[in-house]
Amino acid sequence: MNYPVWIVPYLGGGWIIGIIAIIHVYLSHFAVGGGAFLAITEGLAYKRKDDRIYEYLKSHSRFFMILTSVSGAVTGVAIWWAIALVNPDGTAILIQNFTLAWALEYLFFAAELATVFVYYYSWDKVSKEMHLFLARLYCFLSIMTLVIINGILTFMLTPGLWIKTHYWLDGFLNPTYFPSLIMRLLIMFAIAGMYAMVTSSRLKDEDLRTYMAKYCAKWLLPIFLLGPLVAYWYIANVPQATMSTIFTGIQSSGVGNFSILARTLYLSLILSGTIVLFAYFGPYLNPKGFTFRIAILFLACGLGATGSTEYMRELLRKPYVVYNYVYSNGIRKEDVPRLSQEGFLTAGVWSKACTAQGENNEQRGEVMFRYQCMSCHTPTGYRSMKKLLGERDEDAIYGFLTMLRETNPEKNQYLGIMPPLTGKDDELKDLAKYLSTINKANVNLTFKPN
């Protein structure tokens, strides 16, 4: 409410972040897991004095460097742009709390990029020992970027002691930090194996192709063996209210939207499970028959599994950006009573400016919609208000909105998945007026304050 927000028609801002983030996660996990793959596989080639593996690594590292340094970096910056535009208030809190961590992450990232370029362009130009050292250095630096970003990502779901102390390290080393770090490392090894299957499936030397297909399949073994244990460790530290939402969804998945968390969890489990089976029946049991086309399909499956798992992880902390502290619409939990008593629209710098220019109740309602609803809903597209409101008229919508303002879970059943609405009665009436127009015609967000 202190900054302008980005309006993304039909799709909604959340999906813009989601699409970029899923692609970025898939690439960045490859950047880290792939670093370990390069270091370990080059170590193997060095130990065996096998030039064929060196040759393979040379072509694989070209693919690796282009994909991670170009696409990975572009999508990483794109996430920053997207979250700052869609949820500026929430992003501001993350930057203010973790300034040092972000700076460190940037330093490691810059060093990682420099090392991968030196690594690729020094093939056949430095000694084998030095090249192996570069591979290990890259592996270390890329893992360090994970070590840092993991603290900030897990903080959002389990801020731990930070809620009381507001000391950044308390938030950084939060309850899910270590299980998440190990889980992500396991996933990264698996993804590295899957990417390497694509490059090794192009090898012309049949013996080497067969050997590499089996070798790459083994990179999925750690997640298969340790994944369930680490997942249990992670879940044991997730807020209990979130777990209750999952268990509620087990029965009611067929009759409502409350179950999306549970359903995404099943999808993630099914896709991850089939990937392990895929690796076993494909490259491990039938390495000769594991063609480029199948490897690409396998990679697409991995993207599906990563996407559903990341989507589920994001859903786990609904309706918060930082659990128990800031809601997904950027409103702090502690500000809710004050905003409902003193008014929402005049409390923020930008919302106040927009409201001052609003000519009628409907336009003020639209400002309310932008700042309180639009982080998750669109008028007629994704999570469409038109569809959700159904046949309700203005009075019925107002009644519904007053229920959404309740902070008592017994009076407001949506609290587990939606932030409570804030605002005085007249602001809720303005919002109801605006929402009632959505049902009457195809509405676009038209109010554009200077």
Binding site: I250, Q251, S252, S253, G254, V255, Y266, T274, K288, L297
Partner: protein, 366 residues
């Protein structure tokens, strides 16, 4: 120590295999599977369609049996029992969604399998019976779709069935009698529900299992069909791979991919349930059948009420029967002896396929 244990376990394994082989003839089956070959060419990808259809069929049988545990085929109880499956039975929604989405995928895959076999000329000698058994299996699956659609007894399924039976009753000679027999009287009610349930869970599964067995037997007898351009290649240039284990292992991967697709649909879009059917209420506005019946539905909408002395719906239905009859006579029309006839058969298949796709899209958008 380790070597001794390994030897003992190896001996146990061998004796178990021998015991099974003496009773089941495993070695012969294994040799047969190893002997079987799959041609490798640019259209080999279509060979996977049959395997996916078989896997989906198994899923349909398994999920259907689980649903039968809670489903009650009574006028007052059918809708409530599905609601219970969806909302109270642990993972009931999951198996119902698997059954519903699986049915839709199965019909789509079967259609793909049928047309790919058609364009590869797999209906020619000696595979006529393989072709006919496949054709009948598709019709049976459409029957599964039609009868299963009514069972939840919700608003849309009730009126869609009513429209479907009304159209069927217009067919000459047997139409009215068949529709009346399916309805169990003049109106859709308990009689219809009982009949549809019995057909869905007993008659069609028995027919389906029998025909599937025959279809698979024919495939084993005659091997995989090879397209004309592949047959014309010199023997040295024709490449094959062993069905077992090479193709079979790749088949497993494709099944896993198909399972992933099914899982995504089931979890992201669980199958819903409309309000309970009200036989005395008005039909929902813009009611449409399932996508696989959209093409005939849309076609019939274009036909005027009367064409001369003939009723429009009857004329339209007869026209569609004539249009599709080419699929039945094609093994005797295009025997592979005339290039001209082969071309005509290909063009006919293309026109039919494009017609079905166009009318389906038109029906969905209108």
């Amino acid at each position: 120590m380790t070597s001794g244990t390994e030897k003992a376990s190896g001996k146990k394994k061998d004796s178990l295999l021998q015991w099974l082989d003496e009773r089941l003839g495993l070695e012969a089956a294994f040799k047969f599977a190893q002997k079987k070959q799959v041609p490798i060419h640019k259209n080999s990808v279509w060979y996977y369609a049959g395997g996916i259809a078989l896997m989906l069929m198994v899923i349909q049988f398994a999920s259907g049996i689980l649903l039968m545990v809670y489903y009650v085929p009574g006028l007052e109880a059918a809708h409530a029992s599905i609601l219970r499956i969806n909302s109270q039975v642990d993972f009931g929604w999951f198996f119902r969604s698997i059954h519903s989405w699986g049915a839709n995928l199965l019909i789509a895959v079967l259609a793909g399998h049928l047309f790919s076999a058609y364009f590869m000329k797999a209906y020619r000698k000696p595979r006529e019976f393989t072709w006919y058994s496949g054709l009948i299996l598709l019709v049976i699956c459409l029957g599964f779709g039609f009868t299963g659609y009514l069972l939840p007894w919700d608003d849309v399924s009730f009126f869609a069935t009513k429209i479907g039976l009304d159209i069927a009753s217009k067919m000459p000679v047997v139409g009215e009698a068949a529709a009346s027999m399916l309805r169990g009287g003049h109106n859709i009610g308990q009689g219809t529900l009982s009949r549809f349930f019995m057909i869905h869970v007993a008659v069609l599964p028995l027919l389906c299992l029998g025909l599937m067995a025959l279809h698979l037997l024919f495939v084993q007898m005659h091997g995989m069909s090879e397209p004309g351009y592949f047959k014309k290649l010199e023997a040295a240039k024709r490449t094959y791979e062993k069905f077992f284990p090479n193709f079979f292992l790749k088949d497993l991967l494709v099944w896993l991919l198909a399972l992933n697709g099914l899982a995504a649909l089931v979890t992201l879009y669980p199958w819903g349930l409309g309000p309970e059917a009200d036989p005395f209420g008005a039909a929902p506005i813009g009611i449409k059948p399932e996508w696989y019946f959209l093409a005939p539905f849309q076609f019939l909408k274009l036909v005027p009420p009367h064409i001369g002395p003939i009723e429009g719906e009857l004329f339209g239905a007869l026209l569609m029967v004539v249009a599709c009859s080419g699929m039945v006579i094609v093994p005797f029309f295009d025997k592979g002896e005339s290039a001209g006839k082969a071309k005509i058969a290909t063009y006919y298949g293309l026109v039919l396929l494009l017609g079905i796709i166009a009318f389906t899209i038109w029906g969905a958008l209108s």
